[in-house]
Symmetry: C2
């Protein structure tokens, strides 16, 4: 007997007409009357369920009638096309075997649960329609990201997550150790003796793979990283988690304008791919999570992104007939309310570029005005900033002096500086917080609901 997955049935139902096949999965609902009944079966391969019809010709009919939700079963039966019914086909069962009868305490009975409650059963929530949709979209989007870069000649770099350089600002980095934390730490000369730790010095989890990415870009031309990142921020907001995934491409022979071309092309590719591969999931999100979601996503795929200097953005904000909570200022960052206004003003995604150097990172290329850097943030309607990038300072002297000005250890980062001596290039890169993108694509409002097992301050269950 051929074992078939439910997705294949939906994709090629004609092929299975009147054929007897076997499926295995979990009962999502069971309805019965005296002599027959229906099971909605899901095997995880597809968002929609397979409708199984069974009747009292089954030897174990009484047992099947009492089947509990989420029980795992194996069903043999015939596929019957039902063009006039709600579902396009159904399966008439000739045999149903119970693999495991789900106990009555199963918490996901047929009713709505709050997202807050579902976070407390993170091991079970992917079985709900909502989280089944979210985490399948997550998987499809992740693969689309790989596809985009691989198809465009980028090399995937697995940058290290352990580092002994604290130049990123150790305040935001987790410390990593093999020392016994249940006892007093070993001391030497009145200080903690990290020479006894596994790397012989103090170690951290890095918050970015960019600097390593630049080294590989200077060998492969174009690279990207995609992996987990930890930040130890103690902030309990809807958009912060201590563990999240980042995408960081880095491209040689690429200036800020070309970088924006890549960002735009990349975002459209990922959104388009999810639209194509997850129609059922997005329809569900559109209906129950964010009305108008699909229209929003389709629009992004065809809109041309505005490109605007930071100072021009401030001009627009200053002229706006609006009461701001935070006054827009030329030398300062954009607040959430500003980002929102700008994307509404242009009715689509906006690149804000050429930022005041003092609020941006040391490695960004200083513009000729000496005041701004070639940085760019992409703001999208409804989600604000989702990507941040820049052209990198490729001049050794300028980078060295900037690091000195900011008290960044140039000895520790000698290898990063050396890239500017050994065939330096005009190069650029950006960072994308994968969860931010997912919130944008799915409409989910809390980062905890797009991460399989979220880690936030005070929360590290499962």
């Amino acid at each position: 007997m051929e074992k078939i997955i439910i997705k294949d049935l939906f994709k090629n139902m004609q092929n299975f007409e009147n054929k007897e096949i076997q499926v295995e999965g979990w009962a999502r609902t069971v309805r019965d009357s005296k002599t027959f009944g229906f099971i909605e079966l899901n095997d995880g391969s597809y968002f929609n369920n397979l409708q199984i019809v069974f009747n009292d010709s089954l030897q174990n009919f009484e047992e099947i009638r009492k089947l509990t939700i989420s029980s795992s079963i194996k069903v043999t039966g015939k596929i019957i096309l039902t063009p006039d019914a709600k579902q396009p086909f159904e399966m008439h069962a000739t045999d149903i075997q119970i693999q495991n009868l789900c106990t009555q305490e199963y918490p996901l009975q047929k009713k709505r649960h709050t997202f807050e409650y579902l976070r407390t059963i993170a091991h079970l929530r992917p079985r709900t329609n909502t989280f089944n949709a979210i985490f399948r979209i997550r998987s499809v989007a992740a693969f689309a990201i790989h596809e985009y870069f691989q198809n465009n000649g980028y090399v995937y770099l697995n940058s290290p997550i352990v580092t002994c350089a604290d130049c990123e600002g150790s305040a935001e980095m987790f410390k990593l150790t093999t020392l016994d934390l249940d006892r007093p730490l070993p001391q030497k000369d009145g200080q903690t003796d990290f020479s006894q730790d596994i790397f012989g010095k103090k170690a951290y989890i890095t918050g970015s793979g960019q600097l390593h990415g630049e080294t590989f870009a200077h060998a492969f031309g174009k690279i990207y990283t995609f992996g987990p990142t930890l930040r130890s921020e103690n902030s309990n907001t809807k958009t912060h988690a201590n563990e999240f995934w980042m995408v960081e491409p880095e491209v040689c022979f690429c200036d800020l304008e070309e970088l924006m071309n890549i960002e735009e092309d990349f975002l459209k590719y990922v959104v388009k791919t999810v639209l194509e591969k997850c129609p059922e999931e997005l329809e569900f999100c559109d209906k129950f999570i964010e009305n108008g979601l699909i229209e929003k996503l389709k629009k992004v795929c065809v809109s041309s992104f505005t490109r605007l200097d930071h100072k021009d953005a401030i001009d627009i904000l200053k002229k706006a007939d609006k009461e701001w909570e935070f006054q827009p200022e030329y030398g300062e960052d954009l607040a959430k309310e500003h980002e929102k206004y700008i994307t509404e003003y242009f009715n689509g995604p906006v690149f804000v570029k050429n930022w005041p150097k003092d609020i941006k990172a040391f490695y960004m290329k200083l513009n000729e005005d000496g005041k701004t850097v070639a940085a760019v943030d992409l703001e999208v309607p409804g989600a604000g900033e989702i990507m941040g990038g820049s052209q990198r300072e490729e001049d050794f002297e300028k980078l060295f002096n900037r690091m000195k000005d900011l008290n960044i250890d140039t000895d520790e980062l000698y290898w990063y500086l050396e890239l500017r001596k050994y065939g330096s290039t005009v190069h650029s890169g950006f960072g994308l917080g994968f969860e931010r993108l997912l919130m944008y694509i799915t409409g989910m409002q809390n980062i905890r609901d797009v991460i399989p097992f979220p880690r936030t301050p005070g929360n590290c269950d499962f």
Copy 2:
């Protein structure tokens, strides 16, 4: 002027015949005579170099003659097919602009360096032929892994790397903290007060995503993880690193035999893809790293993998006319020398299955004999074990009792146990150490040489 990447030139050289184009890259070698010269240019897109011919009609001819290795340049010129020459085409330069003249201290001059030395310049080594090949293969293999699973209906799970459960055996896990390690740790009731740490308890980096993978498999049927893993082992061997990448698929409605089918199909897919996409890189590895590499890989793609019980493997080893360093025993693990003998005996990859339960993990399914578990290791010629998997114990009582026997905290892992109450399934999964696979595919003998920036005891530079 059209900017072209060198890979496109090699793939479609006919299209560019006699066309004037632009390329940007790094000079790998420069040879010159009085009136003309050659530059081997690499832009990172392709393993092979583009040959540039330049002559004294260039305004800056004298400057170009003195071009240092690894300088970054932009070249405009015409593509001329040269069917009778060593290289299939060359570029006749009409203009060469130097973007950055590499300084004379550049350590990668035209001579052979040891792998040991190259590890000390990990930020530059991907510019060498060897590491250019290795890390491009790494990227291609990583994508092939994603492709295999996505094309076969698996959902990609980003399992968490932070955990507060120490059931895996905290001896092998790194501790992760936001506490200040430069001062005495906060105390409460005579113990370290982890309530002041960010998660409110002691936290670790997990060594496996399998348990989380099982929860998602019970929602999606088939899932895989692919991400970095840390183990704090203090072992300095050629096959151990503290940071490495793991692939962990988990499949519901799948027993041990079906798992072996998947493992075999998966391995062949990845090897075949690398053979197809990296012919130049593999030829280089075959020539300079492992003679016969390509033949070995091609053979794996067409061989049928032997399946053999652990006890039968021991029988073969015991009968062998060989002096063992470690005597083969029925109740024990296979030593490296045993793995080698077995793969040579069968002249191909071998699945060794049904292992003594006492040397395997708590979650593996107990066979009917009560003595062995449904575990399987895949041994390949020349590399030994590269995958380890098992059918999982799906019976609540058996799993619970086994955990109690082994003093594993059943309260902490309640969520893992609950999978056996709420629609448990016959399910299986395996783990693949990505770097082990890469060593097998490339022939590299040291794990430090297949990891971009390796972390091993005492080594965490860059």
